[in-house]
């Protein structure tokens, strides 16, 4: 389990990164936290010719709030998100989600940029980006591109990034104070990738959803912003309404089968999650008979 030989460059600036990436194209790989890249290299699943370490680029690290926008640098580590008071205040969903990403040792190195570029469909952060309506900021040979999260994830480990692109930041709208959230995932062990997970953000007024965004993960080849959420907005929620929403959700899912769960089990768990989410956001235990999560 030793990586094949590779060349290593410690990038000195974003421009330097872009230069190397255009020269090497698919033969180069950007190194952020290395928590996904290095295991894959050690298993010789991939063998890049050049590894471009962006770790020294301080300008890519950090969290800033300006007006109604939170900007998170690509190199911001999972552990930084977890500790940040800005994130706790303005994007609390993200804080809850990050606590489910791997283990402390991995969170100390893994970065948000790496996680989004990796685009594992079972990953927490990509789904949060959909739920929170994030914009992904990318620098490439043609300059800067700003890509809506909805457009960014295109398949298993696939994104709108080309081999010449560097993900530099994400921008999130500050969550309004009136908003609430729900995050839960089913994983066999703490820190494992989820079997199914849900990152939800909602505005509840007078016991009804004024807004509801449901970002599911591990239910398909990319995170899913469920359209079925719209069935729950502006109406009084009864078990029947909820059950219809579950049926509608089911039609949106295309879950994979793997060693942890069949596709049918993922469908089932997604519906359980939706039910528990609605019950929790509306503080209506009656909607959730039989559950003790």
């Amino acid at each position: 389990m030793k990586a094949s030989a590779f060349a290593y460059a410690r990038a000195t600036s974003v421009a330097n990164v872009l230069e190397l990436l255009s020269a090497y194209g698919e033969r180069a790989k950007v190194l952020s936290g290395g928590q996904s890249l290095l295991p894959a290299m050690n298993l010789r699943l991939i063998a890049p010719e050049l590894v471009v370490d962006i770790g020294e680029l301080g300008e890519l690290r950090g969290i800033a709030v300006k007006g109604s926008v939170i900007t998170i640098g690509a190199l911001t580590r999972h552990a930084d998100l977890l500790k940040s008071s800005e994130i706790a205040a303005h994007a609390p969903l993200l804080k809850d989600a990050v606590a489910h990403v791997a283990h402390p040792a991995i969170r100390n190195r893994g970065t948000i940029g790496g996680s989004l570029a990796q685009a594992d469909p079972a990953s927490e952060l990509p789904a949060c980006m959909l739920t929170l309506g994030a914009t992904i900021v990318v620098c490439g040979p043609g300059g800067e591109r700003r890509i809506a999260a909805r457009e960014f994830f295109s398949g298993i480990y696939e994104t709108a990034l080309t081999p010449q692109d560097l993900l530099v930041a994400v921008e999130l709208p500050v969550t309004p104070r009136t908003s609430t959230h729900f995050f839960h995932e089913f994983a066999r062990r703490h820190g494992d990738y989820a079997i199914v997970g849900l990152a939800a953000q909602a505005v509840v007024t007078d016991g009804r959803f004024a807004d509801l965004r449901l970002g599911f993960f591990a239910v398909g080849d990319r995170p899913l912003l469920a359209m079925s959420a719209s069935r729950l907005v502006g109406v009084s929620i009864t078990p029947a309404v909820l059950s219809e929403a579950c049926t509608a959700l089911d039609a949106e899912l295309d879950p994979p089968e793997d060693q942890q769960a069949t596709s049918a089990m993922r469908r089932h768990l997604a519906k359980v999650l939706l039910t528990r989410c609605v019950s929790s956001l509306l503080a209506r235990p009656d909607l959730c008979a039989g559950a003790s999560a």
Partner: protein, 797 residues
């Protein structure tokens, strides 16, 4: 995790003032390990050392038509690429059979496959290079032309006439069969009011050691001697086998085994790639290092527990169990492992089923079949979890059928504590067990009645919790009956040498080994206590065939009971020798003197007479001042092996309290209790941690661990992401209590404790899940109990 606060019973007959026995003394080697000064095989670097990487078969069964290593040999750093045929000039093949397992057969196995591979992961060539990375680069370029052969994967069809035979010379795929029939089973079933049958299915899993298997073999042509540095549990066994197959005398092989990063039975076997490494060193006349990587570990470390066992129990309405019957089937891969064989696990299952209970009516069949998967062999608590899960699962099913509480049915059927000596239905002799006391104690520890009340209250709120109980017996302190009688050169005796140095410190050499369980600590505790010196004066040397007495090592829960007794006896001799000399020096009588706190004192009033350092000075440097005719012997050696009982059985009971989320199939473990009886407890902390670690491995089997093979014999989860290892976050608190029934076979009275936790944990958890699911009329007898299994059983998906 908490331990039961007080242990009212004395833990040991030897627990007396100034004794370390029965006390939670920290392991003396901890500082060294925590400060990074351990010496693991992976750390060893020798001059001119090369690294070997094995090219491994991607197919489960294939003919090797051609191996082309020309490109690999051109790679920078590559020293040699060696095939199985080339290596067979240096090392001979072996067959993993034992004569006392009648009918057991297996085929010759080579260090590196020749002409044919029989499981995915079997080595077909060795690439030796200056570094591991260079060897891996070379291995990528070895091109092999395979011709795939039909694979045998499903043990259920392995014996069908239509299934290909893996080794034509053996005639069929049956490695071993044992049939046992005791008492009057048919009559007993006819007398039962109810009968329950079930099939229990166990997932194949493995013992994931933190440090993988690792060897450095160093052939010194000038001395004609091979030094093997290896993380093994049994150095003398490795010495014997390496010598045998390399055509050397045992005295030409030295095995050194310093720190070992976990074993669990994984490192008590002889693996083909390790044999190949010894042979490569001899062939290339230089040190060669092999360290398995994680993927290799999953593909080649022995697997265990791949069983399907049908069971039947008869019970009367008053709760009397009338008979047990089982039919066990297990698949062991293409070869029986060497030298302990792969029939032992099934044999143990037959031995152990029904063991805690009074009934003598027992019929069993076990069949062991070959398949094209990785080899299976002994792993912590060999056979016990299977036997315990089947027995305890059946007992619970019987209780359910007659509407009896699960504690009550056990109370009525467990052997009475005054019923010993007696024998199990399979004929194994019990010296003294304490099932009833253990049951009574665990019921108190868990506050059983209160838990039942809580369970009932929560059920009304649709919260489903369950209580699972499992009694068990454990085989420990094996005599020659385990392996020696079958012809294996695996010693069942152990030896200890102790010597006093001139400053009054003690050097102790023991043949038992240390893999983290505390062999070193308990040996030092015994020596210090028996001699009367403080523990910091005792230095323990183990794991070196040149520098320790001959012995078995540490496995099968034998280190403390056998090696500990040898330490006790050797130290008694040393103590007597010291007191004889002290009496001569002091013109006193040995009987009037004692050793306390590093000095010789008067028995009568405890008054100090002479420091051991002073005695040492006289003996070693001024023997001229001793009275004539006295020759001091400040070194003593003793060996020990149990002779009366083939095994020192221990017993215990476990309980699990958990919650099943019936919507998701997820299980939350809330609490686990164990009461066990390993006789004299030398170090309660070490025993409790052995129990806890064992329980965690048992829970791993119950909920998480499984080697998933596809129908083509491919192991599909050979990595730490997909093979779910039990982790601390999911583990409950584990409370441990003790009952103490020392064995009379030794003065120490200690039996083993290393496997008790693993023996019963899966059974307790499975019974608890079935207890939780009772309102749904669902019984699950398959582990691991994954959410998928539970949701399927509940009909939710």
């Amino acid at each position: 995790m908490t331990s039961e606060a007080e242990n009212p019973e004395t833990l040991s007959v030897l627990d007396r003032p100034n004794s370390y026995i029965g006390r939670a003394v920290p392991r003396p080697n901890l500082d060294r390990l925590l400060q990074g000064r351990g010496l693991y095989v992976s750390d060893i670097e020798l001059p001119r050392m090369a690294h070997v990487v094995f090219v491994r078969s991607p197919h489960a069964h294939a003919k090797i038509n051609r191996i082309d290593a020309s490109a690999a040999k051109q790679m920078p750093g590559v020293i040699a690429v060696v095939s199985g045929r080339e290596l067979s000039n240096v090392i001979t093949p072996w067959v993993g059979v034992l004569s006392h397992l009648k009918g057991l057969k297996s085929a010759p196995q080579n260090a590196i496959a020749i002409d044919r591979v029989c499981w995915q992961g079997e080595a077909i060539a060795a690439v030796v290079a200056s570094s591991r990375a260079q060897a891996e680069d070379g291995a990528e370029l070895v091109s092999v032309e395979y011709e795939e052969l039909p694979v045998v994967t499903d043990m259920r069809t392995a014996l069908d006439p239509a299934t290909p035979v893996i080794h034509a010379s053996l005639g069929d795929n049956l490695a071993f069969e044992r049939i046992h029939d005791a008492g009057a089973v048919d009559h007993a079933f006819s007398e039962a009011d109810e009968m329950v049958e079930a099939e229990f299915v166990f997932g194949r899993h493995t013992g994931v050691t933190l440090e993988p298997r690792a060897v450095v073999a160093d052939w010194n042509a000038a001395e004609a001697r091979l030094t093997i540095y290896q993380g093994t549990q049994a150095p003398h066994m490795v010495q014997n086998i390496a010598a045998l197959h390399l055509g050397l005398r045992e005295s030409q092989v030295r095995v050194v085994c310093k720190d070992v990063g976990g074993s669990f039975g994984i490192k008590v076997h002889i693996y083909a790639d390790e044999m190949a490494t010894y042979a490569l060193s001899k062939l290339l006349r230089r040190p060669v290092k092999f360290v398995a990587d994680r993927v290799e570990s999953f593909n080649t470390d022995i697997h265990a527990r791949d069983h399907r066992c049908k069971g039947k129990i008869g019970v009367k309405r008053d709760g009397t169990i009338t008979a047990f019957e089982i039919d066990d089937l297990t698949g062991i891969g293409p070869y029986s492992m060497y030298p302990r064989t792969s029939a032992i696990e099934a044999n143990q299952v037959v031995n152990l089923v029904g063991g805690p209970y009074v009934t003598r009516n027992y019929r069993a069949r076990a069949r062991v079949v070959f398949q094209n998967k990785n080899v299976m062999c002994q792993y912590r608590a060999v056979g016990h979890p299977i036997a315990c899960s089947v027995t305890e699962g059946l007992v619970d099913l019987a209780a359910m059928k007659i509407g009896m509480d699960s504690v009550e049915i056990r109370r009525r059927n467990l052997i009475a504590d005054d019923g010993y000596p007696c024998a199990s239905p399979s004929g194994l002799r019990f010296e003294q067990l304490s099932h009833q006391a253990a049951l009574a104690k665990i019921v108190r520890m868990m506050d059983y009645e209160a838990l039942r009340a809580e369970q009932a209250a929560l059920r009304k709120r649709n919260v489903h919790r369950g209580i699972g109980i499992a009694s068990f017996i454990e085989v420990t302190n094996p005599s020659a009956a385990f392996y020696g009688v079958g012809g294996a050169k695996i010693s069942s005796q152990d030896g200890v040498a102790v010597r006093l140095d001139p400053q009054g410190s003690v050097i102790c050499q023991t043949s038992i080994t240390e893999q983290g369980q505390g062999s070193e600590a308990l040996t030092a505790q015994i020596v210090a206590s028996v001699l009367g010196v403080s523990m910091d004066r005792v230095r323990v040397i183990l794991g070196d065939t040149d520098n320790t007495p001959y012995g078995g090592g540490t496995w099968a829960s034998r280190g403390a009971g056998i090696g500990g007794e040898a330490a006790l006896q050797a130290t008694k001799v040393l103590r007597k020798n010291i007191l004889d000399i002290a009496a001569a020096i002091l013109q006193s009588a040995p009987g009037e003197l004692d050793i306390v706190n590093n000095r010789v004192v008067n028995v009568a009033d405890g008054a100090p007479r002479i420091e051991l350092s002073e005695l040492g000075r006289i003996v070693y440097f001024r023997p001229d001042t001793l009275p004539p005719g006295i020759q001091p012997e400040l070194m003593a050696t003793r060996h020990f092996v149990p002779r009366e009982y083939p095994f020192a059985f221990t017993n215990g009971i476990q309980a699990s309290w958990l919650e099943v989320d019936i919507e998701t199939g997820f299980i939350k473990l809330l609490k686990h209790w164990v009461v066990e009886d390993c006789g004299t407890i030398i170090n309660p902390q070490l025993v409790d941690e052995q129990i806890r670690g064992g329980v965690v491995q048992g829970i791993g089997a119950a909920l998480f661990e499984k080697c998933v093979y596809d129908e083509r014999g491919q192991l599909t989860n050979a990595n730490m992401a997909d093979y779910l290892f039990p982790m601390a976050g999911e583990m409950p608190d584990i409370d441990v209590g003790h009952v103490v029934s020392p064995t009379m076979e030794s003065e120490l009275g200690a039996k083993g404790a290393g496997e008790a936790g693993t023996a019963g944990a899966a059974a307790a958890v499975t019974n608890a899940v079935n207890d939780a699911l009772r309102p749904f009329g669902t019984i699950i007898t398959e582990i691991p109990l994954t959410p998928q299994v539970i949701l399927t059983a509940l009909g939710r998906i």
